[in-house]
């Protein structure tokens, strides 16, 4: 299709979609209204389950099956990326040399790293009490480890990042979520039912299975993001084609 024709088709489609969407918006309830039936029920259910952060209650209790699907999407895409970014025939790994890092940047990085790591762990641990949880904290923890690459060099990052271990943790986090769900079945209730004692409202151990599922997600997300970034870093810094001129491909 020529660029011109594509632009025509695209413009027609965009205009029609815009018209449809704008017409729909005029029928929407006004922004900021007070009618949220599902939300109100979810808040009541969260309080009844002694979970102070209602979002965590929806994520890990009321709609925990969505989160299982979401974790599986993340898990699958990590596995998919590992498969797609594998070292293929005709490629070799080249260790990147040590990098010169300005002393100020190094000091700053090494100072910030443990702080970020702690913040991440705190965010995971308090998922049922305050904003945040396994997902947000997991990403922060995984990203904080990569400050080592900025502050020192790639080799230093590789030393604290045994990939095999993180892949094991990735699978374990996913399996733990599934098995915690099965615990509800074994206890005689439904899959992913919150059958543990609910504890005292607003304490770390409140919410029944919520903190456990939250922790499983934290483990999975941390290791998933580490493995994901490791493969992108590996492609960008390490993997080169063997003939040095071209990366495999049709000519190979």
């Amino acid at each position: 299709m020529t660029r011109r024709l594509r632009l025509w088709v695209l413009t027609a489609g965009l205009l029609a979609t815009a018209a449809l969407y704008v017409a729909a918006c005029t029928d929407l309830p006004a922004f900021g209204g007070s009618w949220h039936p599902y939300g109100d029920r979810a808040v009541r259910a969260a309080l009844q389950q002694h979970t102070a952060n209602a979002v965590s209650s929806v994520n890990f209790d009321q709609r925990a099956f969505d989160t299982l699907g979401e974790e599986t999407v993340l898990f699958s895409s990590v596995l998919g990326t590992v498969v797609l970014l594998r070292r293929t025939r005709g490629e070799k790994r080249v260790a990147p040399g040590p990098a010169e890092v300005p002393a100020a940047l190094r000091r700053y990085g090494l100072l910030v790293l443990p702080v970020t790591l702690l913040i991440g762990l705190y965010v995971i641990a308090h998922g049922q009490l305050s904003p945040g949880g396994g997902f947000q904290g997991g990403v922060v923890v995984a990203t904080s480890l990569h400050l080592l690459y900025i502050a020192v060099d790639y080799k230093a990052l590789e030393r604290i990042r045994p990939l095999g271990l993180f892949e094991l943790a990735d699978g374990t986090g996913e399996a733990a979520y599934i098995l915690l769900g099965a615990a509800g079945l074994i206890a005689g209730s439904a899959y992913l039912a919150n059958t543990l004692p609910l504890g005292t409202f607003n304490t770390l151990s409140s919410g029944g299975t919520v903190p456990l599922l939250n922790a499983a997600v934290g483990v999975e997300v941390t290791s998933a993001v580490v493995v994901l970034l490791a493969h992108f870093l590996g492609q960008a810094l390490e993997i080169e084609s063997e003939d040095g001129a071209k990366d495999g491909g049709r000519e190979a």
Binding site: V123, F135, T143, F232, A236
Partner: protein, 82 residues
């Protein structure tokens, strides 16, 4: 006051999104995307959704742009050596 704040942040989001599309160089686009992630995080916080804001901050303004930059680096490195 709060309403005005929401309007301003919404317009910033629209501008950042448009900028991210119009910036055709992928490395620079990653920076604009990072800014979009930041404005979205602010918007979510203003809309009383700190959980989502935190996730958006971590993913939208850090992990996604980082992956894009690494991809750019890989693709460019290949191109240079050809």
């Amino acid at each position: 006051m709060h309403d005005a704040l929401i309007v301003v942040v919404l317009l910033l989001v629209a501008a950042a999104a448009t900028g991210a599309v119009l910036q055709r160089d992928p490395a620079r686009q990653a920076v604009v995307l990072s800014a979009l992630g930041l404005t979205l995080a602010v918007l979510f916080t203003v809309l009383q959704a700190p959980d989502v804001g935190l996730a958006q901050l971590a993913v939208g303004s850090a992990v996604t742009p980082l992956m894009i930059l690494l991809t750019v680096r890989k693709v460019r490195r290949k191109g240079r050596r050809e």
